[in-house]
Amino acid sequence: MITKEATVAAPAPAPAAPAPPRLAKKRPAWDEVPRWQVYLPLGVYLVFTLVPFYWILLFSLRPAGSTSLVPWPMTFEHFEKVWTERSFGTYFGNSVLVGLATLVMTTAVALAGGYALARFDFKVKRVFMLALLCSQFVPGALLLVPLFEIFAELRMLNSLGSVIIAETVFQLPLSMILISNFIKNVPYSLEEAAWVDGCGRLRAFRIVVLPLLRPGLIAVGSFAFVHSWNHFLFALMFLNNQSKQTIPVGLNTLMSADSVDLGALAAGGIIAAVPVVIVFAFIQKWLITGFSAGAVKG
């Protein structure tokens, strides 16, 4: 299924089967890329990519103390332990909440702002665009201290709200630039036609523009989710209460223990990886089309 999607995404010859002969016909024989030049480097790189994944899977499934290179006999004791004893169940819930809230907030706020940037000329637009670009250079990690103070002032320390806001804010600039580029790619005349047909601006946007933005919004939204799911320092800094912490913080706790429980660490890592890997498998196609539509080209 993934294979099919990727082939459609590329503007290359549509059906996969007749493609090689067509290529061969077009190119002189001496100039065709030999198959081994594709498969060999790809294979080598795949080994580099997959061995670490296999390694963590292996450690999470084989009994503690085993040195076997295959996870057999298989055990789920590490998962049970990490999920209950090490509270990864709680962390998982918190991370899901943070990820989804960040996704919704980032997409909604960036959609509104991106629409304004794409469709209107207004006084502070240039300043605002400049601010968006400059904010790319402001490292979240370096603003830990003042952000900590702000959330302390707002009495939001130890609540997931602080992390959600911080993640959203640092996702916003890039998301907004991307979305405004996506919107610019939708001809304004389509919207105007809808107004003539009696739609309000909002309705016209909803039925004409929004469907066309789908790949872009999926890319931006999943970006926001994956980033906030993965990000570590804000949660580490703002959440002290163990019941409020997120998965990356939990992983860090496992790693910084005096004697690291490798099986538990591996199982925790798998739990951390599963949602993003699923998200990634779904968005892979949109990621590439979405980016080529709006990311790099102005």
């Binding site: 294979t3 390694w55 490292p139 990690a141 003042p146 993965n230 570590f232 590439i288």
Partner: protein, 311 residues
């Protein structure tokens, strides 16, 4: 019910007219949420960092708090060897990491841009580490580098190296070890961006080049690379800033050690604020990091003539 709908309908046209007749206020309303969030949680913190950089400010030693003038900055430049060490390491880290990621990312993008059987699956697999977090990357590589049960043990079984080798705690191997771990996650980022940009190269150009008898290498050099130029400049810059700023991986993988060997400037700042709570000094360091970053970015964009000829 139908009546109510009929009654409700007439007011609609004026609303529409109002919507398109008052775009004056609308854009401001639309950017207001984003603007307010960024003012409150980016602009204000940035300003307060500048303010704190001129203060002695340590919540655990409140009796020493107060205006410090440029004291913090004097200390950074004249009396803090750690700062210079971390600065040098940051430069080394960013340069090697971004350079290798670009190289491998470009190669990978060119490979998976070919038409071959299993392309979709191949792409999904080689890109997958992109989605993995810094902390999880650390967890994975901690397992791989573990001296008792990691890769080195199995290599030693095969007669390569010796038992008990820990690449992360040896000052001579920690740098390449950390580089490889971060490459694992960073290469897909470049590959995805470059692959996306490769989709928009006009096929006609290649066909024309073929008619002129240009080989693959020439086509790459004269068509593909110039087309990718802006994307490469932008992604290397964004990535360099990101690699400089992001402390997740090093914080959890090496903790900046052994012996401060892998401490970047932001990691030093994070440690200064998280561990010693010296917020004033951390703010001054942040200011310096910010200025360095801005300066390097401007120089880079100038030197690379971003958005120059081919637009």
């Amino acid at each position: 019910m139908a009546q109510a709908a009929a009654v409700a309908k007439p007011p609609a046209p004026p609303r529409r007219r109002r919507a398109s007749a008052t775009p004056r206020r609308l854009p401001y309303l639309l950017i207001a949420p984003a603007g307010l969030l960024m003012l409150g949680f980016i602009a204000y913190p940035v300003i307060s960092v500048f303010y704190y950089s001129l203060q002695d400010y340590n919540p655990t030693k409140p009796w020493r708090n107060g205006y410090a003038g440029f004291g913090n900055f004097t200390k950074i430049f004249t009396d803090d060897p750690v700062f210079w060490d971390t600065l040098v390491f940051s430069a080394k880290w960013v340069f090697v990491e971004v350079g290798l990621q670009l190289l491998f990312g470009l190669a990978l993008a060119l490979i998976v841009n070919q038409t071959f059987v299993g392309r979709g699956l191949g792409r999904a697999l080689v890109f997958s580490p992109w989605a993995v977090s810094g902390v999880l990357t650390s967890a994975i590589w901690v397992l791989l580098y573990n001296s008792q049960t990691g890769i080195t043990r199995y290599l030693a079984d095969l007669g390569i190296g010796s038992y008990g080798t820990s690449w992360l705690s040896d000052t001579s191997t920690v740098f390449p070890a950390a580089i490889v771990a971060d490459l694992w996650r960073g290469v897909p980022f470049f590959a995805i961006l470059i692959l996306a940009d490769l989709q928009s190269v006009s096929k006609d150009l290649y066909e024309a080049a073929e008619v002129d008898g240009a080989g693959r290498l020439k086509q790459f050099w004269h068509i593909t690379l110039p087309h990718l130029k802006d994307a490469i400049i932008l992604s290397t810059l964004l990535r360099a800033v990101w690699e400089f700023n992001n402390v997740d991986l090093l914080y959890t993988l090496t903790g900046g050690g052994p012996a401060g060997e892998t401490t970047t400037l932001p990691l030093y700042i994070a440690n200064t604020s998280v561990e010693s709570h010296d917020f004033g000094y951390a703010s001054a360091l942040t200011t310096v990091a910010f200025v360095i970053l801005l300066f390097c970015s401007i120089v880079y964009l100038r030197l690379s003539k971003f958005g120059g000829d081919n637009k």
